[in-house]
Amino acid sequence: MTALRQLLRRPANRIHPLRGGVHPDDRKALAASAPITELPLPARLDLPLQQHIGASAAPLVRKGQRVAKGEPIARAQGAISAPLHAPTSGRVIAIAERPAHHPSGLAMPTISIEPDGEERWHPAITPCDDPFALDPAHIAERVAAAGVVGLGGATFPAAVKLNLGASHPLHTLVINGAECEPYLTCDDRLMRERAEAVIDGARIMAHALGVGGILVAIEDNKPEAAAAIETAAARFDAITLIRVPTRYPMGSERHLVQALTGRETPARALTAQLGVVVHNPATAFAVHQALRLGQPLIARALTLSGAAIARPANLWVPLGTAVETLIAHCGGLTEDDARLVSGGPMMGQPLPSHRAPTTKGCNAILALGAAERAPGRTMPCTRCGRCVEVCPCGLVPLELAAYIRAGDLEGAAERGLHDCLGCGSCAYTCPSQQPLAQYIAHAKGELAARARARRKQAETKALAEQRSARLEAIKRAKREAMARRKREAARKQAEQQTETEH
């Protein structure tokens, strides 16, 4: 009977079916064969204080101060935040508002460093021989101090995710090497070239999380990366490589977990609820560097690609390098009307300026030529339902868009707006080229802004009420004091009278 049950049990590494998704032309061949090369040190580095999800970092340096490579230049503020470190040795030339790496192009407080070319390391940076001797909380502390954030693009402070073991019963760490966005090859190259380090980082993270199993998931369009990881992981029983089918958005955290475990993460919850924590291979590499070498996150691998880039490449880039420096290093733009995108073409953000600095979360700079881009001729929706078919979240994008167009954002929210992961499969597949993902992004932003305004209003109201209550209390106290004094005076007068009468 047990044998039968064993026989009937699912094979261990079966990939579970996912709903929806699309198969975009991956265009990875543009850059996949280019090894990661180090960018020559730029003449200037601009480091915005906000490069992560959470509270902005607070500067620790003054203008004119000399800094060493890896020296902390801004400290984390609050529970969800990350510090910043000098990517090289040099001098702080400004702490001012500068255009940030953000579609709005708005300015953000930024520390600007002029490198001195000496690459002098900060003396506090020392290698650690055996991270596995450290206790898990200590590892998370070091990761936090190194400023490591989720390098897949989410930029959530990695240490916070490494502490999840304290609040959730965890069993598996998933290294998300799906890299399902078209064009992107930096994770692929990192896994090919630094497989040992990625695996080491993953093992350190597993130790911090207190989990026994590590699954490394790689899409089957990256056989070289899979082979390299398989070789590097062969010594460790706890690590299993899983080749997942190439399908966008396989790299979505909750979808990857579903493909690997067959279980759905509850809405608005973390995958940790299922006992699984997901990290990116580049994050694993950063953890390896932080723990083994003591080096903070000061540079990262990123892909420069797109038909408008003369020589697509994978580069090891110091944080704060201007996008135009990267483009110039790759031979410049070959087309006049290139569209600059930070990140992949599906979920990336438009870059308003080529002067914006690269940040921790920037895994690619794309310059898309006219022929690659969506032509952008929008026709009316014909209700063909293809957006419904491809939506991996089970939404009805055409309906959400209709509500949003009509201005009924709450109506859209009731129909699952906040369950949208923003993968853009709907807009990608729409025959009418309706900007479905853009509508949804707009509605989410607008609702968030309204919620903020409401919170602010409520706070202001509460403060005003407190103030009037306080004023009222003061008035009352004064009145009472006055009354007391009067009574007092009256009593004294009465006493005096009685005294004189006597």
Binding site: G394, L395, Q438
Partner: protein, 362 residues
């Protein structure tokens, strides 16, 4: 270095699908059955087909001009042409020219543009026009002819064809009612099914389309071929045709087993009338059918059920157009209630709890 102004958000790439491509593929899929119909019914059919197509294009252009919309993208998407094409295929092949003109105007002006043009019409424009014509001009809309293939001796020449299309020529010499019509009339007169079908229904010729009927509805086989092509190229989903044909076949089979003398079997229903055209090309019109896979199954099953009911017990021998229009009316309701389960939530929209599997939670 000049850089394109930033779009608000991604995706910045597109899969390349377009309405025009879909429409072209549907027309391509219709081509075999259309050419076969035109060959079967000769010059008059060809003229009627051309007149109908010309009418819809002119009407669409006029409406777009009145609405102040650009002509090129909206005419170029081919949606009006396809509407006219489907309407023409559903007409008696030798109907007079004004049937095509009035039908074309109804389809585009009343059934489509009045509602706001492409994507806005609640009912299938071609079927609205067909039903309006059927009710307004019952004689012209039920005067069918037996096939007289181009090149055969009996086929009318271009001159004769012009007379036929002008509506003056008597069609008696050519007349040949549809199988559905014959059977219905005979059954109403109390004849038994085996007697009628023995003389008027041969599954093989019905599948090939060697019998009287609407211009493009006769060859079930060619329509099936085109329809499968559309499913294969993912222009349409399999759900509506499968549910519609499946329901129709199931009902026909059950009733046939129950009483073979009065209820013809499934082949008769699947191969006769507008079943194939309806299942693959009419009911699958995206605008007027549900957007979810399950909704489409319900929609298709509803069409199949209504076709069977209308053909068997209602006042018309053929019910595809009525069935599709009635189900079109149900589409908003189906789309309201039948929606996909959101990832991480149960069917009622509540967040899943912990380890529960979504499908097992009640």
């Amino acid at each position: 270095m000049h850089i394109a102004p930033p779009a608000s958000a991604g995706p910045f790439v597109h899969g390349g699908a377009s309405i025009a491509r879909d429409m072209r593929l549907v027309m391509l899929a219709l081509l075999p059955a259309t050419l076969f119909g035109l060959w079967q019914f000769g010059w008059p059919a060809l003229l009627l087909f051309a007149i109908t197509l010309a009418t819809v294009v002119v009407t669409e252009a006029l409406c777009l001009w009145l609405a102040g919309r650009p002509l090129r993208p909206f005419l170029g998407d081919g949606s009006a042409l396809l509407t006219g094409w489907l309407l023409a295929l559903s007409l008696p092949p030798w109907a007079p020219w004004w049937i095509g003109v009035i039908g074309g105007v109804i389809a585009i002006l009343i059934a489509k543009q009045v509602f706001g043009g492409i994507g806005q019409n609640p009912f299938n424009p071609a079927m609205v026009a067909r039903v309006a014509l059927l009710i307004a001009f019952p004689v012209e809309m039920t005067s069918f002819v037996a096939p007289v293939p181009l090149g055969s001796d009996a086929a009318p020449g271009l001159g004769e064809a012009l007379a036929i299309v002008q509506g003056g020529a008597p069609l008696d010499a050519y007349s040949g009612a549809t199988t559905l019509g014959v059977v219905r009339t005979a059954l109403d007169q109390g004849e038994t099914l085996s007697g009628i079908l023995g003389t008027s229904f041969a599954p093989f010729s019905a599948a090939l389309g060697l019998h009287g009927g609407s211009l493009g509805e006769t060859s079930a086989l060619l329509l099936l071929l085109g329809g499968l092509g559309l499913i294969f190229t993912r222009v349409i989903g399999w759900q509506i045709p499968a549910a519609m044909l499946g329901t129709l076949a199931l009902l026909a089979t059950v009733m046939h087993i129950h009483d073979p003398t009065h209820y013809p079997d499934a082949t008769y229903h699947l191969l006769g009338g507008a079943t194939m055209l309806g299942a693959f090309f009419i009911a699958t019109d995206p605008t007027t059918s549900p957007v979810t896979a399950r909704g489409r199954l319900i929609f298709g099953a509803g069409c199949g059920l209504l076709i069977y009911v209308i053909r068997t017990w209602a006042g018309y021998p053929e019910g595809v157009a009525f069935a599709v229009l009635l189900m079109n009316a149900c589409t908003p309701v189906i789309d309201h209630y039948v929606r996909p389960r959101i990832h991480g939530r149960d069917r009622r929209g509540r967040a899943l709890v912990g380890a529960e599997h979504p499908e097992t939670r009640r």
